[in-house]
Symmetry: C2
């Protein structure tokens, strides 16, 4: 299966996949051990057992590698929890999303992705869509499709992205007062008022 | 008057203000002339007629200087247009905000601000609230206060930030399909349905 979400993933078990796994693991180990300010491509290369030029050739600058590692960490582990209703599923998902994006780790991952985008923009490269938004939308889609199959009224994916996910991320990025759980649930409640019955996807 | 918004502004006419103005102008000139990828602190210093160490001492890294320049460019020029109604004022403001934030220049400014925040986070510095959100909120506040004085029903500032400004910024940052004018106005229309009469601020 080749989709927009996984076409960049190298064949599992191939040399390319092994290099990627080793470099990602070395990056995460060094991040945990010494913090981001101390991180350099040569240090990561030495830890991963590859040459620095392997990293530069494949990823580009350190910022690009950090963005790639961040995207892998942001990739959802599986389907969102199935609580039996769209409202319950979205409540659980929103609380987890808010918690992750408001943490230093989640904020750092988003900022790594955006810093790489800034580098690309500065060099005049065409913008690439960030997988972050695709990951988020895919989780919401799963919840809404489940609800539609149960015959429930459901909100639109875009409505959840615009009025629930976006303000959580905006506040995490631009404010020092991240969103409270109560505020996030109030935004979701307002969004759920727009729910309506739809035909389940075939 | 000292507020959170302007306490970092040096005294106009002082040496510090002159250095800031010269360095900001040199940065903008070089950005326009050679693009961001070519920008370095020594080049900016030479153009501004100061030493590189003046810049490093006052701003830190290039990313911090770029963030400071971006914040100055994001600072509103004046009060939002007064069309005679809250709905009209917000419609005009939303279209201008959407247009600015979806442009390469606006996106680049937000990414400069966030890249500096990423550097600070990586070095373990405490987060500082970005002035971007404060600027946006202050424009919305002015519109809403005008409406309240006219006796109109008005939405809450937070509601406009969460359900109109945030999705515009989220899509600009994370998507390659920035928000359309129609989509932004539809989000505003939904937000305006939450408007209610309030006592005007004294």
């Amino acid at each position: 299966m080749t989709t927009a979400l996984n076409r960049a993933i190298p064949r599992p078990g191939g040399r390319s996949a092994r290099v990627q796994a080793a470099v990602h693991k070395a990056t995460l180990d060094l991040l945990a051990q010494d913090g981001r300010a101390a991180l350099t491509v040569p240090l990561i290369a030495a830890r991963a057992g590859v040459t620095p030029s392997t990293i530069y050739r494949r990823w580009g600058e350190l910022a690009d590698l950090l963005a790639d590692v961040a995207v892998e960490r942001l990739r959802p582990d599986g389907d969102p929890a199935d609580t039996g209703s769209v409202a319950g599923d979205l409540q659980a998902w929103v609380e987890q999303y808010r918690d992750e994006m408001s943490s230093d780790v989640g904020l750092g991952m988003m900022l790594d992705v955006l810093s790489a985008r800034n580098g690309a923009l500065a060099e005049g490269k065409p913008p690439v869509p960030s997988q972050c938004a695709a990951f988020t939308a895919s989780q919401i889609e799963i919840i809404i499709a489940r609800g539609a199959r149960r015959g429930e009224a459901v909100p639109e994916v875009d409505a959840v992205m615009d009025t629930v996910a976006s303000p959580i991320v905006y506040r995490a990025l631009f404010s020092t007062a991240p969103m409270t759980p109560e505020h996030a649930q109030a935004l979701l409640s307002a969004c759920l008022k727009t729910a309506r019955k739809v035909k389940p996807a075939a």
